[in-house]
Amino acid sequence: MSFLTINQVSHTYFSKDHATSALSDVSLSIEEGEFISFLGPSGCGKTTLLSIIAGLFPPTVGNVLIEGESGHNRSIGYMLQQDYLFPWKTISENITLGLKLLKHESEDSKIKALELLESVGLTGVENQYPRQLSGGMRQRAALARTLAVDPKILLLDEPFSALDYQTKLRLEDLVSITLKSFGKTAVLVTHDIGESIAMSDKIFLFASHPGRIHKTFDVPEELRSLTPFEVRNHHAYNALFQTIWKELENLEDHA
């Protein structure tokens, strides 16, 4: 059985004047340890799907199973476009926040959390406040906060889109290597074709109005073992990029 199963999920947003269909009949499954991407233009419902996977709200129709269970008590980690570190908490308070809320806080888990901080390349900042750190450093701390609760699955909602290009490339490598070393399953939402190829094993291309899966691409085996930066320099990268690019163009022509 698959690790994550999405069964015929549809979602509609209601307002006084409109009922907007954000997702229509989405089904897919992910194996443990896989890194997949939801790629698509804005308005294709990819963030909605991620929120549903996270259990932030139930879908209008369908269900999501993680290891065969639905329930709200999912062990998930969520990363947003911006770090959303709490400005009134120190870095160490921020990264142990999840532990505190889940009541897993112990000396042991705290030490582990601080080790995580080290493994994402942040040392000596435990007692600083977020504003004292650069954007890239803050997003690293947010990654450590997400990993500190040892989630079964990581949901990444365009976590690199607010960063400058260089920082983004560096963080892509860091996230990819870190997640691989912990054997985490991850779902990345992005509108950046290159990023989806560089980071994931499988790409789900979404079409919009209503959001649905248009096509699925498997990233070639030879790219999967490379770091995102190396992937971008590989000849197979360009071929896949062109294919996805054309699909996206087609989608927009039809729209």
């Binding site: 998930i76 969520y78 959303y84 926040l97 999840g98 809320l101």
Partner: protein, 268 residues
């Protein structure tokens, strides 16, 4: 190497400019003080204004020393200060608590919305007579006046700030399985601290109004009583002296709140 001394000189120049500007501000502040009180004294002595009504700084000072030495002033001032501080703390705490309840229940907040608007628009000091009859002419009713005057506006302002907290912070907490109470404690309340502190600053002034009016009505002790008494016996020196003391106390309270703000909001 050549630029280093230049930068040093420029920096010193900059610091000297800052210092001299600060000194100029102080000089002008002092000047206003001297002109105001000096002008007042002269105008009163030369009877440009009626000395019976407007008194004069020297008379006020003399009365101040007399009252200070016989102990009555300290007695009245401490009563008023106590009532104001308590009214102010109560008003702010109750207002914040009400705001928390409204945040907790969006339904309740929708239901209560028009009532809050009406209560806010109503002049609360008009409730004074009823409070005094209901709670008795003493501490309790005066403190209630000090609190009631600030509680509704605190509720409205703090509730608005609760609602304006970036929902993404709540999203982060929700993914960690936070309960509504945990979300409130970890995100909503600390994110609203700056707003709460700034309502404290407003409430300092409001509570003085509530307490002084309360003392006008109860008329037994306190600076408000001294003002009413002075008015009744046509001793405006006493009225003005009480007013001066209120001004000084209110300023000190305001500075304390500002100090608290710097202590609490260390990350900003």
């Amino acid at each position: 190497m050549k630029t280093t001394p230049d930068i040093h000189v420029l920096h010193n120049q900059y610091k000297a400019d800052l210092k001299s500007e600060k000194r100029r501000v102080r000089v002008y502040q002092l000047l206003i003080f001297i002109v105001f009180f000096g002008g007042w004294e002269i105008a009163s002595r030369l009877e440009w204004v009626d000395p019976l009504i407007f008194s004069s700084p020297s008379k006020i000072w003399n009365l101040f020393t007399v009252k200070l030495l016989d102990g009555t002033l300290l007695n009245h001032a401490s009563v008023t200060l106590f009532e104001t501080v308590l009214g102010f703390i109560l008003g702010t705490l109750l207002g914040t608590l009400l705001a928390a309840i409204l945040w907790w229940s969006p339904f309740l907040s929708k239901v209560l919305d028009p009532y809050l608007v009406i209560l806010n628009a109503m002049p609360k000091v008009a409730l004074g007579p009823i409070l005094i009859v209901a709670l008795g002419p003493g501490f309790t009713s005066i403190i209630s006046m000090g609190a009631i005057i600030s509680v509704i506006i605190t509720t409205i302002v703090v509730y608005t700030s609760f609602r304006e907290v970036d929902p993404n912070y709540l999203k982060v907490l929700q993914t960690f399985g936070a309960t509504r109470f945990q979300s409130f404690k970890e995100a909503i309340l600390p994110a609203s601290f700056p707003t709460i502190i700034s309502t404290l600053k407003v409430n300092v002034g409001l509570s003085w109004v509530g307490v002084i009016v309360g003392e006008f009505l109860v008329s037994s002790r306190g600076l408000g009583y001294l003002i009413i008494y002075g008015f009744q016996v046509f001793n405006f020196t006493l009225v003005l002296m009480s007013l001066m003391i209120i001004a000084v106390c209110a300023t000190i309270m305001y500075q304390l709140v500002a100090w608290l703000e710097r202590k609490l909001i260390k990350h900003g």
